[in-house]
Amino acid sequence: MAKIATREAYGKTLVELAEKDDHLFVLDADLSGSTKSGMMKKVAPHQHFNMGIAESNMMAVAAGMAASGNTVFASSFAMFATGRAYEQIRNSIAYPKLNVKICASHAGITVGEDGASHQTVEDISLMRGIPNMLVVCPADANAASEAVKAVYKKEGPCYVRLGRSGVDEVYTEGAVPFTLGKGNVLHKGEKVAIIACGMMVQEALLAKEQLQKEGINPTIVDMHTIKPIDEELLVSLAQTHTLFVTCEEHSIIGGLGSAVAEVLVQKAPRKQVMVGIRDLFGESGTPAELLSKYGLTAQHIVEAVKKNME
């Protein structure tokens, strides 16, 4: 099966949406070929504005356009969208609750060869901390397409985390269950609950195959919406599972693992292990080499489960 990047799905979905809505605008900061935001120029060239290499201005321009009754998608690499323009997102978009969808690609270390300057491992943490902000990290291209449609329909500021590299199909096209704020239980198992987001969902599913061979049958959840996190699902899983393993291509500080821990520790304390990047910057390398070196493969998930099962 072909691996498709979530950013490809973003570009294609924007084409569909822009064609039907002349109040939809797309801004990009000189990366419209990479983020795929530029694909919609074929159908709605006058609804795409290149802001040049000036992310801070782009975000506040997006705010001004949204304050004028438009739905605005603003794209760049996740590092620059959320890092460079953090304060514009906070003060000009989130505080006034404006209808801007920050759809940022090249998140995490699977950016690969560009190295640490372009590999954000803290974007979820940054965006999750902002009041009014919704945070989504889709697992594959099919889910990304649904995520983009869902945030388009949802009034208010949203952050959608997209990747550079191709990912396996977790879902079948046209048959993706996707409700913002509701995690998807992909497999019902017992004792161990593996909660993943983004490209780590495919790794979690691979880990499940291996664990099953060893007599362990974990539950697998695609927690595509990191904020608001699906508390109801987590609390319900806590009734029947004793170990939670969170998996994310992000720092274990402030990301999915933290969001899950915040619920468990307050509502249903259970043992939790975090698979993620351990307070480190990335480096140049192929995505596969980096995932292996930074502990983000199915094998790492298997080991985390086995080591922590009682």
Partner: protein
């Protein structure tokens, strides 16, 4: 006749600015007082804002990029009758719609939430871009501080406005020469301001006296005739204008007067000097 009417509005606004910051025991009087004539000219002679279209985007809009001058915005909204004078005394207090820096979600008539310098002009660019894209005739106004020009984002926005030929955008620079730490030229010199905007492709109008409402109105009229580029009005103003002990003193950037000082200032304003 008209000009004397505007002068009375300006006096009323100055008094309200002083009462607000005195009652709040904090706020920014200096840069609010310097911008009174700019806002008076905009809200009384240029913008088509009314009680009926207050919450609509189908009208001219104003973004206070120098959001710390919120008292002058609240004062003009009050002077227009959109805000009761009684509410002004809630400024900066818990539960108030009159936040320290303006919030569009709390107070009708505030067209953009601002306060973090450099961002308001970008938002104004976004509004002007949207009006262009939808072929709407409304104009977008914004007011920048001169110290605010030290923010790099201002120049990103300036480049963008010129690139997209936003002739429906008029920016004012409240050129009072002072910022919170001192003289702008000593802190981080942003001059020559006119040549910078010219180089960025803007039509530049320089006002000898930005506290002269007739000059401000004239500049607004000239800006409407300029096609294919945005206009900036660099208005030389006096920080603390109208209150002799505040005028040209950077120490009055972000400090509230005492009750006695406020009374003294109001007496001076009522004495006809403005």
């Amino acid at each position: 006749m008209l000009v004397s009417k505007y002068k009375q509005h300006a006096v009323n606004m100055r008094k309200n600015i002083l009462k607000m910051v005195t009652e709040a025991k904090s706020g920014h009087p200096g840069g609010s007082l310097s911008a009174v004539e700019i806002l008076t000219a905009l809200y009384f002679t240029q913008m088509d804002i009314t009680q009926e279209n207050l919450n609509s985007i189908e009208r001219d809009r104003f973004v206070l990029s120098k959001g710390h001058a919120s008292p002058v915005l609240y004062a003009v909204l009050c002077e227009k009758g959109f805000l009761l004078e009684e509410e002004l005394c809630t400024f900066r207090k818990i539960g108030s719609r009159l936040q320290g820096h303006p919030s569009m979600r709390m107070l009708d008539g505030v067209d953009m939430s601002t306060g973090s310098l450099g961002q308001g002009i970008s938002a104004a660019v976004g509004m002007a871009l949207s009006n262009k894209a939808h072929q709407k005739p409304y104009r977008i106004y914004t007011l920048l501080g001169d110290g605010e020009l030290q923010e790099g984002e201002v120049w990103e926005a300036a480049m963008c406005a010129s690139h997209y030929q936003l002739d429906n955008l008029l920016a004012f620079v409240d050129f009072n020469g002072l910022q919170i730490d001192g003289n702008i030229c000593d802190i981080m010199n942003p001059t020559p301001i006119d040549e910078k905007f010219k180089a960025f492709g803007w039509h530049v109008i320089t006002l000898e006296d930005g506290n002269d409402i007739e000059q401000v109105i004239q500049a607004c009229e000239e800006a409407k005739t300029i096609k294919g580029k945005p206009t900036v009005v660099i208005a030389k103003t006096v920080k603390g204008k109208g209150v002799s002990f505040m005028e040209n003193q950077y120490t009055w950037h972000g400090v509230a007067p005492s009750v006695e000082q406020c009374e003294e200032a109001i007496q001076e304003l009522e004495g006809g000097r403005s």
